[in-house]
Symmetry: C2
Subunit: 132 residues, 2 copies
DNA sequence: CTTGAGCTTCCAGTTACTGGAAGCACTACG
DNA sequence: CGTAGTGCTTCCAGTAACTGGAAGCTCAAG
């Protein structure tokens, strides 16, 4: 399939797919017309990257994960360790995000949304609970 | 207080504080020696930006929020609308993140962490539930 | 056979920092 | 009082991860 179809199936913009190829995260077959030609395996790889990125993995870390994926001889303990580290990070981030969401939600509720210039959202955001 | 102290109190690196000044998000008094001199109000503003950024507001949006904050005559409805939009976005992101965290957690649990090369983490990540 | 969408490469720009050099300012120590 | 070290200053360059745009080739439809 062409890059457009792969883009649609993977959720990655075509530009980004080309960029990932540039930096070595993806490779592409070429059709006789010079167009990139992707298989479902490629799309899986794209989705893998897409998901990993949205999980908070940097492109570099995606590369690590993918290299573990590619090198079937690698011990799965490596993958597990990496995943565990990321998991802890995500848990932390999730708590933080939830807190912030709740703060914002509370503030939106308490804000009148009328013409009073002293909106509590601003007040709340600038003085919200500091940690450590 | 100097930039170092403000950095510590706000959680923003000094470099970043200077950068925010560059792009007009922050201003700074200057002491007689030419050093930037910050008040607690400035630190609040920094914390506001720091929190907003970590909430997923872009620097541009922080600017909008801050301009609403600065211009006391503005209706708070504007702030509320902006906050509400962001709130919806955060809720979506939170759901997505939770899903991904759970996926990763399940996978970490099912992965042996031994020398078997067929780690299910990779498999799971690359084929995880696709939506819409 | 042309029109338009989709593909190609390449280069430039963007966002939000981050690092490093060169040099002035302040504190502390001998 | 000199100097060592840390912190501040500016400025310029680099980074990550895209994103946009130009110039040109390719393909399907009318």
């Amino acid at each position: 399939m062409n890059i457009g179809a792969a883009s649609e199936k993977s959720g990655l913009p075509a530009k980004t797919i080309r960029y990932y190829e540039d930096i070595g995260l993806l490779t592409a077959e070429r059709a006789s017309n010079g167009y990139r030609d992707y298989s479902m395996t490629d799309v899986h790889r794209m989705r893998f990257i897409q998901r990993s990125r949205s999980l908070g993995f940097s492109v570099e870390e995606c590369g690590q994960l993918l290299s573990l994926y590619d090198d079937k001889e690698r011990e799965s303990a490596d993958v597990k360790a990496l995943a565990k580290t990321k998991l802890a990070e995500m848990d932390r981030k999730l708590v933080e995000l939830t807190e912030l969401r709740d703060t914002l939600r509370r503030l939106v509720r308490s804000c009148q949304g009328d013409r009073r210039p002293d909106c509590p959202i601003i007040e709340g955001l600038s003085s919200a609970k500091r940690k450590q």
